[in-house]
Amino acid sequence: MRSLLTSLGIIIGVSGVIVMSAIGEGSQELIKQEIDALGTNVIIVFPGAGRTGGVRHGAGSLNRFTFDDIEKIKREATLVKYVSPAVRSGGQIIAGENNWSCEVNGVSTDYFRIKNWPVEYGAHFTVHDVQTKRKVALLGKTVADKLFPDKDPTGEKIRIRNVPFTILGVLKEKGQIGMGQDQDDIVLAPSTTVLYRLKGGRYIDLINASARSADQLEEAEEEIRTILRESHRLDDGEDDDFTIQNQTEITEAVTETSKIMTLFLGTVASIALIVGGIGIMNIMLVSVTERTREIGIRLSVGARGSDILVQFLAEAVALSVTGGLFGILLSLAIVFGVNEFTEYSALIKIKMILISVVFSAAIGIIFGFFPARKAAGLNPIDALRHE
């Protein structure tokens, strides 16, 4: 009974450490999935800040990307696999008696490959659709649900800001990205159609591209930079008039945050473990006092101090490892509960379990050593006389 109470500290500590790290791992895995959902090896080029004399304007104030830039990247950049413009527009969308307001993005066919974005119903639009500025659209899942509840809208007509479009299909659900932005609340149409028939003007808002492989991201980025500087006729000393970001940077930023979180929670759990260890030390000290007579008997039949030391150390380790094992069971139950009943996901790694077993054994040794040494140092006569 008392051993159980003592082990409770270790049980809570160990299960705390495992659950925290499992949730940490789980959320990192989730974030990784979300980032993967953003696309593979994605490079995004934003327009930069314009400058009039010495006065800088905000990001996007100088918007000079054109379809020619896209073509040039496509032709010249060897490490870039796909490249697509993004023309951002939006407005009220009407379908029969339903209507909905959302973003309308003009993209090229490469966009679906960059984003790994298949259709749920229907088909993607084609290169021909882009070239001929056809008024066709793909609906995000959210938009499809709002405008055409419970039916496949392929072939239906909608009006975006009074311009009629034919629906080619519905995109597969992508879910939310980190900040809670719904990626499915969107309509995609050919970039040319959106630019010339909805938005007007000459410039596109963003360039999405993907590198051939993850380790070529940096080099691909450099290629795009060179090409854009050339086409924007920037002199050597001049700043870029655009900003390039790639996925690894985004991934790093997000995982960094979650790592800090895991570290923090891990610290809290470690403190619980140390408190548990002190509990074990306490119970072992009490045990040494209570069993002084037993120690005396063992010494009198010829046990060495080291025998007694090993015996009490072993007991401390057994106590803490038992606690550790119960802690693992408890954490498995908690992790199961977390996965089953909450929206968080937790991931247990075998490595984590091994570490915590070793750690609890170490706690047994460290905090058991002092009481064990006290027991081993007892004088046999005094120990035998002890009542």
């Binding site: 010494l299 009198s300 010829g302 046999p380 006569i381 035998l384």
Partner: protein, 231 residues
């Protein structure tokens, strides 16, 4: 006459108790030969238990020499005492000192667990043999609290026997027993002695001392009388 087992020269033990120094033993010269059965008598505080503890390597003398089977034990460090306790002595105490919640058999086996030399090949069998020798062959798996006082003391004697010691040291072995059980225990000691075991019994009961072949009387830390008992 047998061989010399124990020889002490000017053995002295003194404690610091608060401000005063207590002299438990003063210049004790004491010799024990093999196959002796000695009763050490004396009033409480006469130093008889202290003498036994020092002889049994449970305690270290303050000064003087202690030679065990020709080896000067008093020159050894405290850490080197444990193997002596394990190999040379069997202890029997007034309060039995058995491990609770541990069967008679396992209690008897205990000294062999700590015998690093592994002199006894089959500890379990040796323990069973020792229990049979003290007449507890049918009580091996009983816990100490399931045994009577006399039986517990016989388990303790079996434990003292199991490692084939040079000497059995018994400190008031009958102190917690009634008269008839005390007599049984002493008969057992006499039997063991007849089989060749050297035994020293500390007691303050003259009837118990009668069973011994030699009676040593202690007073104020000194040996006051040393008589062979005529059979």
């Amino acid at each position: 006459m047998g061989n010399m087992v124990i020889e002490t020269r000017r053995l002295t033990k003194s404690y610091q108790m608060g401000e005063t120094i207590v002299h438990a033993l003063r210049d004790v010269d004491f010799m024990v030969e093999t196959e002796e059965l000695i009763a050490v008598m004396g009033a409480s505080g006469s130093g008889k238990s202290t003498l036994l503890n020092i002889l049994g390597c449970l305690d270290k003398p303050s000064s003087g020499e202690y030679i065990l089977e020709g080896k000067p034990v008093s020159e050894l460090g405290k850490k080197e005492y444990a193997p002596f306790r394990n190999e040379k002595f069997g202890f029997v105490f007034q309060s039995f000192n058995l491990l609770p919640r541990t069967s008679a058999l396992e209690n008897v086996e205990l000294p062999l667990v700590y015998d690093r030399a592994g002199r006894v090949g089959k500890p379990r069998r040796a323990a069973e043999e020792a229990l049979r020798r003290v007449g507890l062959g049918d009580r091996m798996h009983h816990m100490p609290n399931q045994l009577s006082g006399g039986e517990q003391q016989r388990v303790a004697i079996a434990r003292a026997l199991v490692n084939n010691p040079a000497i059995i040291l018994a400190d008031e072995p009958t102190g917690n027993l009634d008269t008839s059980t005390s007599a049984d225990v002493m008969t057992l000691f006499q039997e063991l002695n007849r089989d060749g075991m050297t035994i020293i019994v500390v007691t303050h009961d003259p009837e118990i001392a009668e069973c011994a072949k030699r009676i040593v009387l202690m007073r104020d830390g000194r040996i006051h009388g040393d008589n062979q008992v005529s059979a």
